[in-house]
């Protein structure tokens, strides 16, 4: 009996110790060691776009706009890898992100690989249920060329006592010239994205963003992007060949982009806005050399308000969000003297619609867009319906 009691007491004591030892791996300073964890997720947008024209019949478009598979692999508590593999329009395959992240501490992470450029809201938060409307804001197409990503490396981190997060990267830049001009007045820099696909480099670019999240449900971001476009004309020329260097210089534009964005949620209201300004240098020579019509400055902004009408009803778990978005952007905000300002590139759009978020990761969307440019008096229209999903 005595021995049984001894055994029971020793066992009990050891079990307490075991439990407390287990606690020691749970101290607040440590992250759970869940090495070797693979997370698989994805997001998709299936869209129906129907242009509305008073005088003409127009075909609608039905498209699996994008289907993206996300993989996050955690090697250990410090090191992880994130990638997104995208199918666009069913038949085009891209890699949207592929980077390794190493965390030294919360103030400092090192990141390298194919990285999203931190500019605006949608370039980083582009999963369909995270934004209202079937289509992303066009500001995030023509001024910020979403999904904008290049290969590079840099640092990220947070100062929680100041509620600040920073990102700073050295990245490869846009392909500005590879035998023909990639930049244009209409599409801005969009066609110059290299996307990490056998991209070439003649000069690194710098991208940085600071986010402030100290005020309840408000997030404000300030971003900058600075550098030069890339050109194939430097490749293989002698460093003493002044005329070849001068010619190559003519195929390069200097790029300075600023972005300010804000998101605010309160009592069921969802407010967001974004402003971008892009200043390019050397566009006179670039346009003269390539025959393009790139503007010297581009700018634009959007503001959006949405409201979850089920917000007050705790019995209903889904969200029904009517929204309204106004955006205006101009890829010819100003031009050099050797080209004419094209008023068609000053575009204004109103989008009104409704989204039914069945769960946070699944959303049905419907909206109508009024589209106008300053070169004509007419107002175009487009009706959109779509399905947006995101699971992770």
């Amino acid at each position: 009996m005595k021995y049984h009691l001894i055994l029971i007491l020793i066992f009990y004591t050891i079990s307490i110790k075991a439990q407390q030892t287990d606690q020691s791996s749970n101290t607040a300073e440590k992250l759970i060691e869940n090495s070797g964890t693979l997370n698989i997720g994805g997001y998709a947008e299936v869209d129906y776009n129907q242009p509305i024209n008073g005088d003409l019949y127009e075909n609608g478009k039905l498209d699996v706009h994008r289907l993206v598979l996300l993989f996050g692999y955690k090697f250990n508590s410090k090191t992880s890898f994130v990638t997104e593999v995208e199918f666009e329009h069913v038949k085009e395959v891209y890699v949207e992100q592929a980077f390794i992240n190493h965390r030294f501490n919360q103030f400092l992470n090192f990141r390298a690989g194919l990285l999203l450029v931190p500019m605006g809201i949608v370039n980083e938060y582009h999963e369909s249920p995270t934004f209202n409307g079937v289509e992303r804001p066009n500001l995030d197409k023509y001024i910020v060329p979403t999904t904008w990503r290049e290969i590079g490396m840099g640092l990220t981190g947070r100062l929680d006592n100041l509620s600040l997060r920073y990102q700073a990267y050295l990245l490869n830049g846009f392909n500005g010239y590879d035998g023909s001009a990639k930049f244009s007045g209409k599409n801005g820099l969009r066609s110059g994205r290299q996307k990490g696909a056998e991209s070439f480099s003649s000069a690194p670019n710098f991208s940085a963003k600071i986010d402030y999240y100290g005020i309840s449900s408000l997030k404000i971001g300030l971003a900058g992007y600075f550098g030069n476009s890339q050109t194939t004309l430097f490749d293989g020329i002698s460093k003493e060949d002044a005329s070849a260097i001068s010619r190559a210089d003519s195929s390069v534009v200097g790029i300075n982009m600023l972005g300010l964005d804000a998101r605010y949620n309160i009592k069921g209201f969802q407010l967001r806005g974004q402003y971008n300004f892009l200043s390019l240098s050397n566009t006179d020579q670039y346009n003269a050399f390539t025959g393009s019509d790139v503007g010297r400055q581009m700018s634009g902004y959007f503001v959006e308000i949405g409201y979850d009408v089920f917000n007050k009803n705790n019995e209903i778990k889904s969200q029904l969000i009517p929204f309204f978005r106004y955006e205006t952007y101009n890829t010819h905000h100003s031009v050099e003297n050797n080209i004419e300002t094209n008023n068609a590139f000053k575009r204004t759009e109103l989008t009104a619609g409704i989204g039914w978020k069945l769960t946070p990761g699944a959303m049905l969307k419907m909206d109508y867009q009024w589209l106008k440019n300053d070169a004509s008096d007419g107002i175009g229209g487009q009706f959109n319906m779509g399905v947006g999903i995101w699971f992770f």
């Binding site: 004591t13 110790k17 101290t27 607040a28 300073e29 992880s80 309840s216 778990k317």
Partner: protein, 202 residues
């Protein structure tokens, strides 16, 4: 019989100092700063209390810590250090904690974060502060302004999105801490009421 108890006592003593857990220096600094903002110019002592009063609280508080807060001889409140699930490596968005299904996950797919919650003696939330958020997604919940929404919570239902304003880009972690504070409050009520952990009258 006495010898057996003495032996057990010695073994226990030998084991306990090795496993005694306390606040790490960095977390303690954050917690002390938080407490000194609540009770200005007062020396506060933290007395750890046993949470394995019954099986339920033992399981619930495993790896977490509950302290009684004293100023001189007077008891002023409770401090709970707690770990909750954050976002996943690569994103933060589609989890729905209202169903509480995600919260039962073992944590492996998720990042975790640690937070401290200060209660008044009658279990009203006095302050919530995130003491460590290692993940790269959903960190916006550490915003003091957002966490202040929990101040005054006295238990019962609380809905993310209506009672607590949502945060863009932090759906999982924001849902998680909302759900978790409800659970912590429930368990603290049980711990205090069922186990006689009453405050002495001032």
């Amino acid at each position: 019989m006495n010898k057996i108890l003495v032996l057990w006592f010695i073994i226990s003593l030998a084991c306990l100092p090795l496993s005694a857990q306390n606040l790490t220096p960095r977390v303690e600094k954050i917690v002390n700063k938080t407490l000194s903002k609540i009770w200005k110019n007062q020396e506060i002592t933290k007395n750890k209390i046993q949470t394995d009063k019954n099986l339920e609280s033992k399981i619930f508080f495993k790896g977490n810590y509950v302290y009684k807060l004293n100023i001189i001889d007077q008891e002023e409140g409770w401090l709970v250090l707690r770990r909750a699930l954050g976002c996943k490596v690569g994103g933060c968005g589609s989890g729905n904690y209202n169903d509480s299904a995600v919260c039962t996950a073992d944590g492996n797919a998720y990042e975790v974060f640690d937070y401290a919650i200060v209660f008044t003696p009658d279990l009203k939330v006095k302050k919530v502060v995130v003491v460590d958020y290692p993940g790269d997604y959903g960190y916006e919940i550490s915003s003091p302004g957002w966490l202040n929404q929990f101040i005054g919570y006295t238990g019962g239902g609380m809905n993310y999105g209506s009672d607590i304003d949502s945060i863009s880009g932090a759906t999982i972690s924001a849902n998680s801490i909302t759900w978790d504070i409800i659970q912590v409050h429930e368990m603290m009520e049980k711990l205090v009421e069922e186990n006689g952990l009453v405050f002495s009258k001032k």
